[in-house]
Amino acid sequence: MKEEIIIAGFGGQGVLSMGKILAYSGLMDGKEVTWMPAYGPEQRGGTANVTVIVSDEKISSPILSTYDIAIILNQPSLEKFESKVKPGGILIYDGYGIINPPTRKDIGVYCIDAMDEATEMKNTKAFNMIVLGGLLKIKPMVAIESVLKGLKKTLPVRHHHLIPMNEQAIIRGGEIIRKQ
């Protein structure tokens, strides 16, 4: 198993930490993982993206030019990365802020209204987890327990009470993701 994933969106959307949770989940699952952000000032107020690889084997390059899975959270990122999904790969996007949806036919395109859902749940912090839940529904590359275990490891103890809420969000994400 080896999944090469790009997550891209605005700086404020928690793109990097979503990637981090995914990577940590992989770690908990005993997998090899790499997490490689696009870094630097051009990210300022603009787009942010991170490449996460989860694999059973040692990972060579953490930087990729094409991906198995793209998680796209804004229009500029869609424009940048749609073409870089490998044929047969997967693209998941949040409808909020996407004016022109993806058009490729040779990949699996999924839509998840995580932003709306998070607003509805009155918990914008759940946004991340909803998207992640959607991803894991379609590609169960790590067990949900591993995600929660990872959260436990990374969250400070005083935030551990938030874990059940995160679990809910993951499950909700799995429910609302839909093929375009």
Partner: protein, 360 residues
């Protein structure tokens, strides 16, 4: 926490490893893509735990001279920067080498020349191994290719630096510095007491006690005869290091017809490339120099008698390839492949280059 597998950036790993190794002082100036080293250190507050000094200097010139000052007192001191900042340090590095002081430098390379780009690069190879500063000196240069090695080479670097009283350099790049991957941190070691430092470093400027002559930390010697003696001593030391401290990794080299030589992040691309090539029936191995200086000449020279050609894979316009060629000395073709300006080549493209430049 022991032996716990963690996930962190290469830069963070260096910072945490430095604390655990009992480093006495870090002096640095922010620059992308390595600012997390200083940031992690300030967040960890080691001055409250191990007593390590952490200081944001006013510039890279100040940083390297703080390192010079600290190293001259026998303490374990280090700095880190990225390419433009390293260039500013070259005078200082030359002084440190000339005064024969141990210290650890970290360069998380970005694309140049000039302000360039903040993307990964390996274009400071020449600067690192041939001496970007003035005079005949050498810096022990370690090239980690994983977050784990970023942490491990802190100890390795300091150990070599103190063994030979010579600066050591971790030559990394934006890929290794910024990526997160698995790592097991070394255990916390106690920092040496002042008394231990005095004892271990009788050459250091720690305060002149009656039992010895005053110590002078200096690179100055106006008499050319004496200066020549110093230089001869340096050169002999460098030969010792070349004899004793070469490190490298061989990946699928036993049966190889061709060899890729690559260091740091490029060695990871290279290892992917040899997988692809072997799937295509091309028997290629990867030789990864871990020490860039001393350069693994003997092993490369051995392979020069076994393989049909070598490809030096670097994110630059061809630098290490010169050292490979100097080693091979014309026995087999040696070519370079790389991308420039911060672009990391695809493993496929490496295989293509191998075919086009070496195999054809």
């Amino acid at each position: 926490m022991e032996k716990e597998v963690l996930l962190m950036k290469g830069n963070e790993a260096i910072a945490l490893a430095a604390i655990r190794y009992g480093v006495d002082g870090y002096f640095g100036y922010p620059i992308t893509p390595q600012s997390e080293i200083l940031e992690t250190l300030t967040l960890e507050k080691p001055w409250e735990t191990t007593g390590m000094v952490v200081l944001q200097a006013e510039s890279e010139v100040a940083s390297i001279n703080m390192v010079y000052g600290g190293a001259g007192t026998g303490k374990k001191v280090m700095t880190s920067s990225s390419s433009p900042g390293m260039s500013l340090m070259q005078e200082g590095v030359s002084y440190i080498a000339g005064a024969e002081l141990p210290c650890l430098l970290v360069n998380v390379m970005r694309g140049g020349p000039g302000l360039g780009t903040i993307q990964p690069s390996q274009a400071d190879y020449f600067q690192s191994v041939k001496g970007g500063g003035h005079g005949d000196y050498r810096v022990i240069t370690l090239a980690p290719n994983s977050v784990q090695e970023m942490a491990d080479f802190v100890k390795l670097g300091f150990d070599l630096a103190f063994k030979y009283r010579n600066p050591a350099l971790i030559l990394s790049d934006g890929v290794i510095g910024q990526m997160m991957e698995k790592i097991v941190l070394p255990e916390q070691v106690k920092r040496r007491t002042d008394e231990e430092v005095v004892k271990q470093c009788p050459w250091a400027a720690t305060g002149h006690t009656k039992d010895r002559k005053p110590n002078w930390i200096t690179s100055l010697e106006l008499s050319p005869e004496e200066m020549e003696k110093n230089n001869i001593r340096f050169q002999e030391k460098y030969k010792e290091i070349e004899k004793n401290e070469v490190l490298y990794e061989e990946i699928q080299c036993e049966d190889a017809d061709y060899l890729i030589v690559a260091f740091g992040s490029m060695a990871r691309i290279g290892s992917k490339a040899i997988e692809i090539a072997r799937e295509q029936g091309i028997k290629v191995g990867l030789l990864r120099p871990i020490t860039l200086w001393p350069f693994p000449k003997d092993i490369i020279s051995e392979y020069a008698d076994k393989v049909k050609g070598m490809l030096s894979l670097e994110i630059n316009a061809g630098q290490m390839v010169e050292d490979v060629r100097l080693t091979v000395n014309g026995r087999i073709p040696v070519e370079h492949f790389g991308r420039l300006g911060g672009i990391v080549p695809d493993p496929d493209k490496v295989v293509e280059a191998l075919k086009a430049k070496i195999i054809q």
